[in-house]
């Protein structure tokens, strides 16, 4: 367990009601700086709700959350300056070039134009997209577009990067390629919080996971620790033991 002093994300008793529906209930977890942390659960479990609260896009009904040292309800702008986000939806503009998409996002995070172009060139290089700068975004393959979206969300060098189901719709090669890129980003000190309903993704990529089901966190820990604690040989069995149901991929 991490101490709150070096936590990148600190969530205490978070609850979210939509009318009579409780989407999230008494969620408590920490994410340490530099960690890759996975919110693992089926569709509708409360993963995206949790992420949107941490991104300041939704107000919690009860509980507190701090991201990169700032309260999500009290200091939303300070949080927004320090986090990056790749949503599930497509967030490149297909009518702009790869480079234009990058510098556009830089401007929305208040980078100077010259600094934005320099930063974009470096990030495209790291992502293996160096030769793609002048291509129209609409011609990119699914995997390449995802990498561009990830690179766009790193323009302002966020302390915490949020990825919502980052590999949905990608084939296995593109998925592995993206995992390698996420590890590389993490290796440079960025904390990564991702949601996924792929057990193998959580197993392959995450230092720690929180298993979430019907709005409640059922278990938290490193995939290896959870397997030992639940006397399970795989994360599938852990999930079954913790929630009483299977997670169909």
């Amino acid at each position: 367990m991490t101490s709150s002093a070096d936590a990148a994300v600190e969530v205490i008793g978070l609850r979210k009601d939509f009318g009579a529906t409780r989407a999230l209930d008494a969620a408590t977890f920490n994410v340490a700086r530099g960690e890759i942390f996975g919110l693992l659960g089926p569709n509708g479990a409360g993963k995206t709700t949790t992420m949107r609260i941490l991104l300041t896009l939704l107000k919690p009904t009860a509980g507190t959350a701090r991201v990169a040292g700032h309260d999500v309800t009290g200091e939303p702008v300070a949080v927004r300056e320090r986090v990056g986000w790749v949503p599930q939806e497509h967030t490149v503009d297909p009518l702009l070039t790869v480079m234009e998409n990058m510098t556009f996002m830089g401007g929305m995070y208040h980078l100077r134009p010259i600094a934005a172009r320099r930063q974009a060139a470096q990030l495209l290089d790291l992502a293996g997209l160096a030769g793609h700068g002048n291509k129209m975004a609409k011609v990119l393959s699914g995997g390449t577009r995802r990498k561009l979206e990830l690179a766009m969300s790193l323009m302002h060098v966020p302390a915490v990067l949020f990825l919502d189901e980052p590999t949905v719709g990608l084939d296995i090669t593109a998925r592995r390629d993206l995992w390698a890129y996420v590890r590389q980003v993490s290796g440079q000190g960025t904390t990564v919080v991702l949601t996924t309903h792929y057990l193998e993704e959580a197993d392959a990529l995450c230092d720690r996971v929180a298993i979430i089901d019907r709005g409640r966190i059922q278990a938290t820990g490193a995939p290896g620790e959870l397997k030992i604690a639940y006397r399970a040989s795989s994360l599938d069995e852990v999930f079954l033991a913790a929630t009483g149901q299977e997670l169909a991929a």
């Binding site: 927004r80 949503p87 967030t91 234009e100 556009f104 830089g106 401007g107 208040h110 980078l111 134009p113």
Partner: protein, 254 residues
Amino acid sequence: MSTTNLWREHRVLLGRWLARLRREPLAVLALLAQPMVWLVLFGHLFTKMSVPGGSYLRFMTAGAVVMTTFNACLTGGVELLFDRESGFLVRLLAAPASRVSLVTSRFVYLTALTGVQGVVILVAAWLMGVHYASGIGGVAAGLAVGALFGAGITALSVALAFSLRSHSQFFPLVGFASLPLTFASTALVPLALMPGWMRAVARLNPMTYAVDALRELIMTGWQVAPLVGTVGALLVFDVCCVATATAALRHGMR
């Protein structure tokens, strides 16, 4: 909220709106050709109509300019609806950029775009023999009055973009509103030739105010007192539209 940050946001947002326009050559062509069609088509269709000043083309020029502004601004909010539909907008809401910049950048873009269209029409009409009684300064003032009208219409379009679920609702609604509002104004026909009820509607229509101001400047010259009154009326209209848009934004920017 520093002005440097606002400038940087507007810079990239305007860059994006312009790049999207530039890459749709057909849209650019339509934006420049459509006003000419108004001028040529209606200018010849109604030549026998008796209008103050005698020349229908000269009467019609102000109408063509303001109608063009009206149409561009009325659909001007739809790009924000596209961004809402695709998920792009919510991604931008997670950035520290001001929410207001998304909307104000549309105002700046549409004001510039309709300004260019207006100049194209005025130059074309001049080549077709229309004289401008108040000179270049008067015509520029008339375009500014048109921009005041366009700002209110843009705000309404933005309000619509944040009130509807999809662009498949947006376009029919805008299409439905556009023609009656145009015909129930002085853009094409003078008040004197309208039936009584339509004249009453046209007197309340903000388009009438913008058209009449520009038309006075083209056909008669500077008439300061009525011009000030028109500017005042359009400012009231703008305030109402911006208030509507603000309410819609609060509701829709989630």
